[in-house]
Symmetry: C2
Subunit: 248 residues, 2 copies
């Protein structure tokens, strides 16, 4: 059961051939998931697409129409395979050009460090018309926000800095509280009891996460609810039921 109590929803769009080839293991989707959950935004979908304009445009259009916010990562660097800014411009039907505000952020950063402001680096100052810049406290070249789409870097440290930078702009819903109970039994032993418990507490989101290591079954039962008292009642009831079956 997803977080249907949340009014504020989001999707993450991870852009890059390197993820789809398996060469790079994506960390950004998980980091965005954790951050949004913590602040009370319900991440409903993650998509990974390659460095293809048509695929990026189609995904941005679909996701920005469906969710409150879209967070993209990747494809805003200086090389020829960095095409996200142009794809976002195409999705919104606006031109993309060098933005003097971006140049003003990057110039002093490069000057202080003796980094030449090459034409390749100038590509990183290209932003769709009407966008607001997103600060990059790590390496200066900014991300940007256009409508409900936040366009961030793919390098995880830079992505995280940009996500922090936009957090105070976000509308948020109720934060879900979570508790978990770990039992040394397989899911198959407790599934019926757990389903009955879910039926009794329909407003509490219940998930079950099995693992198997060192010859031992382990199942983590996670309960989530915005209302702390209801959550506590659900936890107590579940522990009682597990004890009656000698599982806890």
């Amino acid at each position: 059961m997803s977080n249907t109590h949340h009014a504020v929803t989001a999707a993450a769009l991870i852009i890059g051939d390197e993820i789809l080839s398996g060469r790079t293991k994506d960390q950004n989707g998980g980091a965005i998931a954790e951050h949004l959950t913590a602040i009370g935004v319900a991440l409903r979908e993650i998509r990974v697409v390659g460095d293809e304009t048509d695929d990026i445009v189609a995904a941005v259009k679909a996701l920005s129409a469906r969710y409150t916010y879209v967070f993209t990562t990747g494809g805003i660097g200086p090389t020829h395979d960095d095409i996200t800014a142009d794809a976002i411009g195409a999705a919104f039907g606006v031109p993309v050009d060098v933005d003097p505000r971006a140049v003003a952020l990057m110039s002093p950063f490069y000057a202080e460090r003796g980094i030449p402001f090459t034409s390749a680096r100038m590509r990183m100052a290209r932003v769709p018309a009407g966008a607001e810049l997103i600060a990059n406290t790590i390496s200066a070249a900014p991300g940007f926000r256009l409508g409900n789409v936040f366009v961030m870097a793919g390098v995880p440290d830079v992505m995280r800095a940009m996500l922090e930078a936009v957090t105070n702009q976000l509308r948020t819903g109720p934060k879900l509280n979570a508790v978990s109970i770990v039992v040394a039994h397989a899911e198959g032993e407790i599934a019926d009891l757990f389903a009955e418990h879910q039926a009794r507490f329909r407003d509490v989101i219940m998930g079950s996460y099995p693992s198997f290591a060192g010859g031992c079954y382990r199942t983590e039962l996670v309960l989530r609810c915005a209302d702390g008292e209801r959550l506590e009642a659900a936890r107590e009831g579940l522990e009682r039921a597990l004890r009656q079956r000698a599982i806890l």
Copy 2:
């Protein structure tokens, strides 16, 4: 640039609230990406959706229409939040019921280990009509294939066993060979040179992956091509160009 030389394409559909909440970091998308790339199937998209029937059905329909194969992970366990089999049945418009072939695989496994075949475990034998089973060498409860959709477990070890089990059923395209060159420079220093090189070798897929650690820039330039000779020519040409600029 994606792997446009490939005729055989795929999408991965990762199912589970725990990924979208950030509680669990997905490993399956990356493992599927690596495996498919190695055997010559081009992974074009990864989607993560929650434990919601409508979201799963919509994603399965969209992805199975668009790509040669779809690989799903998650939601085929014994608990009430395991709804993938029913969602796949709904997407294909076929009924889902306990499959005697699945029971025959699971019964002896449980009997040998003294594991009770509970009604919850019987849920794991529910398979859409017309599906072929996928062997599970780890914990018996099978996955299944319906049309071009392969439905696999979410537990990473079990997922990998199932992916291995279906590999000989897959049509494959040309495998891409890859070489990489690492330079101790920022992307912005080599982007122009790299773009010119891409323009000279349009049949070679070129990507650039920056990182920054311990105060040092590092960029990995990756070249990919099914044709080994063309790849070698591209590599030599790029190394020569980098040396001329004293970057290598």
